[in-house]
């Protein structure tokens, strides 16, 4: 028999290469340039890992472990090289990659431990986790995620203000990896199940004492656990790099404050209400009635859109302060913020403003206005009421004193337009605050860490839903169609907010799906009876889009990454609602439908 060489002898050769190669890299760095040295060191590390893999070919039980250890040693040597040559940023990134890869390894061991039981579901789940890290496509995507998170800070523009950089890192790190992990989930689920069916492997599995639903649940469980590991790793990596980045030098003290008070925090936003809401609603109702009387045709054609237009117009009007007038906005429910601030040093509320200037043909760089809080001028310096001068088209945050809130928890914000008449104009301009994020009060309601964990939970719940969709699609379709169907559902869920606006779900008066179906059918019948067949067809086609949107859960309802990166609180109730709707109800319904089909399916290869 051929006696295989001892493991330490096999490891010795690549390690010797590493030592010699590192000396060469050092010489290159000193003699030619640091850049060349880095390239040589990187090549040496890659070659060392590849050689280790080759060396352990004959001893498969050691191959993965030994290669991983030797590759880690090579990477650590590379980090040391970078540190010695002052490339701290790159060194941090590489150290991050090592840390994430090590975490992945440990996490997989943890999953194996968790799935050490002996049941059908666990057996299938274990196999799919092994498949995830041993099949090229899924492994490639997983490695992309593990490399992307630590190297993303290298792509940041260092001349940018720090709080924007932190915000960018948070939203990109979690957002992009969320998309990649969704693709990984779809590819893994469809590849695994369709691969089983097409190759005939499923015959070997389903003749075992395993119900078909157990097979599907096992696949889903394995993928969900793998996703959990990846989300945890991405979370750990992102949290580490965000903290490291937040600790670097800020542009100015305001920038430093913005990092902690606007990004690495968890705030609640309050939208303004009219001083007299009943009067405001009555005015809108009257305007809608007026439109109905003035333009009955236009109204009849699309009453939903007409109502929405009137409401929007009123909203814009209400957010507008015309020249030399004052507008009053009431923020209610600030009692909690006042009480919370009582015993702490944090005694401010944040007024977020995004002003726009209208009625001018020349661009206004700044707008001028004065503010009163509960009818008292603010801010007052040396006895004078100081006016605000703010650039347009940007988001500004003013710190308001929390004492200004009255005993009932209300804050009346009065804004007076103080714009001067611009050159070449005869009258001053109006100021409009964009409805939504243009005028609102924010106050701290929790810490960043808890918010971050809740955000990761939402990201993972969405991935488990994608996994359920992909498993369901793969159980009754072939590989290309299953991937396509899963991608369509994922894209619809991702863009549901935009699609709802674009496809006009709200153009119906009815807000419920069934109501809109009845309404569409009635209007299509009316149009058809008037021989307007094309319009009738469009009306019916809208039913398809309504159905697609109704069948797909809206990820935009739970935009956790967006909220986290803008320092907004993700309430636990939102996480629970997301778990209920996206993590439980939807997968359960789609899973039951898939099981009903899969249970009756003849499991023969598609080629036969």
């Amino acid at each position: 028999m051929n006696r295989p060489a001892q493991p330490w002898r096999r490891a010795g050769r690549p390690l010797l290469l590493l030592a010699v190669g590192s000396l060469v890299a050092e010489a290159c760095a000193r003699g030619v340039g640091v850049g060349i040295g880095i390239v040589v060191q990187a090549c040496v590390a890659a070659l060392c890992a590849w050689w280790a893999w080759r060396e352990f070919q004959a001893t498969p039980q050691w191959r993965r472990k030994a290669t991983a250890v030797i590759a880690t040693v090579a990477a650590v040597v590379a980090v040391w090289f970078l540190v010695r040559h002052g490339r701290l940023l790159e060194a941090t990134g590489l150290a991050g990659v090592i840390g994430m890869a090590t975490g992945c390894w440990l996490g997989l061991a943890g999953i194996h431990l968790l799935l050490s039981g002996s049941t059908g579901v666990i057996g299938v789940a274990r196999a799919v986790v092994d498949e995830a890290v041993r099949m090229r496509v899924s492994l490639g995507l997983a490695m992309l995620v593990l490399v992307l998170v630590p190297t993303l800070p290298l792509a940041l523009d260092h001349s940018e203000r720090l709080h924007y950089r932190v915000q960018f890192l948070l939203s990109w790190s979690l957002g992009v990896t969320g998309v990649i992990l969704s693709l990984l989930t779809i590819v893994l689920a469809c590849g695994s199940i369709c691969g089983d069916i097409d190759s005939g492997r499923i015959h070997m599995t389903l003749v075992k004492p395993l119900q078909r639903w157990e097979y599907l649940v096992g696949k889903w469980l394995g993928i969900a656990l793998f996703d959990l590991l990846m989300v945890a790793l991405v979370g750990a990596g992102t949290a580490t790099f965000v903290r490291l980045l937040a600790g670097t030098e800020a542009t100015d003290p305001q920038d430093r404050a913005a990092v902690t008070e606007q990004v690495l925090t968890a705030r609640i936003a309050l939208d303004p209400e009219p001083a007299n809401p009943v009067e405001y609603d009555a005015a809108i109702a009257a305007a809608i009635q007026q439109l109905e009387e003035d333009e009955p045709d236009a109204f009849e054609r699309n009453p939903g859109a007409a109502r929405r237009r009137i409401r929007q117009e009123y909203d814009w009007q209400w957010h507008t302060v015309t020249p030399d007038t004052v507008s009053t906005y009431v923020f209610r429910g600030l009692g909690d913020a006042k009480r919370r601030a009582a015993g702490t040093a944090d005694t401010t509320l944040q007024l977020q403003l995004k002003p726009r200037a209208y009625n001018v043909e020349v661009d206004l760089a700044d707008v001028r206005f004065a503010i009163w809080l509960n009818d008292r001028p603010w801010p007052v310096m040396d006895g004078d009421h100081v006016e605000q001068i703010l650039p347009t088209q940007a988001v500004h945050v003013l710190d308001l004193p929390v004492e200004a809130v009255d005993e009932e928890g209300n804050l009346r914000l009065t804004i007076a337009n103080r714009n001067l008449v611009p050159d070449g104009e005869t009258k001053p301009t109006t100021i409009t605050f964009s409805p939504g994020d243009g005028l609102r009060i924010l106050h701290r309601a929790g810490g960043f860490d808890g918010n971050f964990i809740r955000c990761l939970a939402v990201v993972w719940i969405k991935l488990t839903m994608v996994a359920a969709v992909a498993v369901a699609a793969a159980s009754c379709l072939g590989l290309p169609m299953a991937i396509l169907a899963s991608l369509v559902v994922y894209a619809t869920a991702l863009g549901s907010g935009f699609l709802r606006d674009a496809l006009g779900l709200y153009n119906m008066v009815s807000t419920s799906f069934l109501g809109s179906v009845v309404e569409r059918a009635g209007r299509a019948a009316t149009l058809a009876s008037e021989f307007r067949f094309y319009e009738a067809f469009r009306m019916l086609f809208g039913f398809v889009t309504d159905l697609a949107l109704w069948l797909t859960p809206a990820f935009s309802d739970f935009d956790a990454v967006g909220r986290l990166s803008t320092g907004m609180l993700i309430p636990a109730s939102d996480v629970l609602a997301c778990l209920w709707r996206i993590g439980l109800i939807y997968p359960l319904v789609i899973g039951l439908a898939a099981w009903a089909l899969f249970e009756r399916r003849d499991l023969i290869r598609s080629s036969t």
Binding site: Q61, M204, P209
Partner: protein
């Protein structure tokens, strides 16, 4: 159809067993028909039509037929992988999809459909988990099976790197990990070298002796002839003939006398005797060895000389846990293995052929059964 009484005694007579199992019938198909339909649900091909099968406890039952004759479809229906268009199936007295019956079935498909990224040990571990085997039992059985199929030296290599024959061995090992009462083998020797094929045949014979029921689906006519108690020959989705090998193969109009080599003078004398009895059509020839026998002898000799190989080794003895043919939970109660009966009367054939001329240990029980001698 030809009836027969060549059956082994059913060891399971305990009350509460499913009706058919208590009757000693492990597989029963009645009027089994399968029509495959196209995307528009139009009937495309009738793969199986009105098949009746009855495989009794402890039988080695051969399912023969050319490609496309409906063998694999029948097996897949028996295993619950596809649903019959009409007809009834009972496997171990239950519906084919019943988990309790699957617990006692081992299946080797016509090709080894394995996860390429798992090693041989991981593959067996995966299937062991599906049978809910406790960790200790699973580990012990995997050790025994890997040794039995001769893959213990390469147990950590990914199955994707294995040759077809080695993958077949893994497939065979997984089909035995639950100590099945009913073993369904689809082309078990395809892709195997003659040594491996011989081992598998020996194993099947041994399992048959231990009271297991084996449904063997194959193109290898010699395998069927060597091993099977009963045979069904299928063509065009129907069973065209069914019975014991002896019943199906007996040549009533021919007699063979086998002796040690005779000198020409004695041959002439024998011819004279036969001519006196009016028999003038006599063929006298030297019998040839079977190629299988020659091959096995050469390999055995090479092995004895210490020649090296990087592939599968010869494999060891049959794993201890493959006990007599009872349900796992009842195995302890029904041991020892049931007595093998070979009570079939001869049906006229007088020719006696040597069955296994291999160099390995001679399977006397198998020879006894095929030569209709009492053990």
């Amino acid at each position: 159809m030809i009836a027969t009484d060549n059956e082994r005694q059913d060891p399971e007579t305990a009350p509460g067993r499913p009706v058919d199992a208590a009757d000693g019938v492990d597989i029963k198909c009645a009027g089994l028909t399968k029509t495959f339909r196209d995307f528009w649900l139009r009937p495309r091909v009738r793969a199986v039509e009105g098949v009746d099968l009855e495989v009794r406890r402890g039988q080695i039952y051969g399912l023969l037929g050319p490609n496309g004759s409906g063998k694999s479809t029948t097996i897949k229906m028996i295993l619950g992988l596809i649903s019959p268009t009409s007809g009834r199936i009972a496997v171990l007295g239950r519906r084919p999809r019943d988990v309790a019956s699957k617990q006692r079935i081992g299946y080797l498909p016509e090709e080894s459909y394995l996860y390429r990224f798992l090693s041989a040990r991981e593959t067996l571990d995966y299937y062991g988990r599906l049978f809910r085997l406790p960790t200790r039992v699973r580990r012990e059985r995997i050790d025994m099976l890997l040794e039995m199929v001769g893959l213990d030296a390469v147990e950590h290599r990914p199955v994707g790197e294995f040759s077809k024959g080695m993958q077949r061995r893994v497939g065979l090992a997984q089909s035995l990990i639950n100590d099945p009462q009913l073993l369904i083998l689809d082309e078990p020797t395809s892709g195997m070298d003659p040594v491996g094929a011989k081992q598998i045949k020996d194993l099947i014979a041994d399992l048959g002796r231990r009271g297991k029921t084996v449904l063997l689906c194959t193109h290898q006519l010699s395998d069927v002839e060597d091993l099977c108690d009963r045979v069904a020959i299928m063509f065009g989705g129907r069973v065209r003939a069914e019975g014991t090998c002896d019943e199906l193969l007996a040549q009533e109009d021919c007699t063979t006398i086998r002796t040690a080599a005779l000198p020409p003078a004695v041959v002439a004398e024998v011819r004279g005797v036969l001519e006196r009895h009016g028999i003038d059509s006599v063929d006298v020839e030297r019998p040839r060895r079977r190629m299988e026998s020659l091959f096995l002898e050469i390999v055995e000799q090479a092995r004895a000389e210490g020649a090296r190989t990087s592939g599968a080794t010869s494999g060891g003895r049959v794993a201890d846990f493959l006990r007599s043919g009872a349900a796992p939970s009842e195995a302890a109660a029904v041991e020892p293995a049931p007595q093998v009966e070979s009570a079939t009367p001869t049906t006229g054939a007088t020719a006696v052929e040597p069955v296994a001329e291999a160099t390995g240990p001679v399977d006397t029980a198998l020879i006894d059964r095929l030569t209709n001698r009492q053990p």
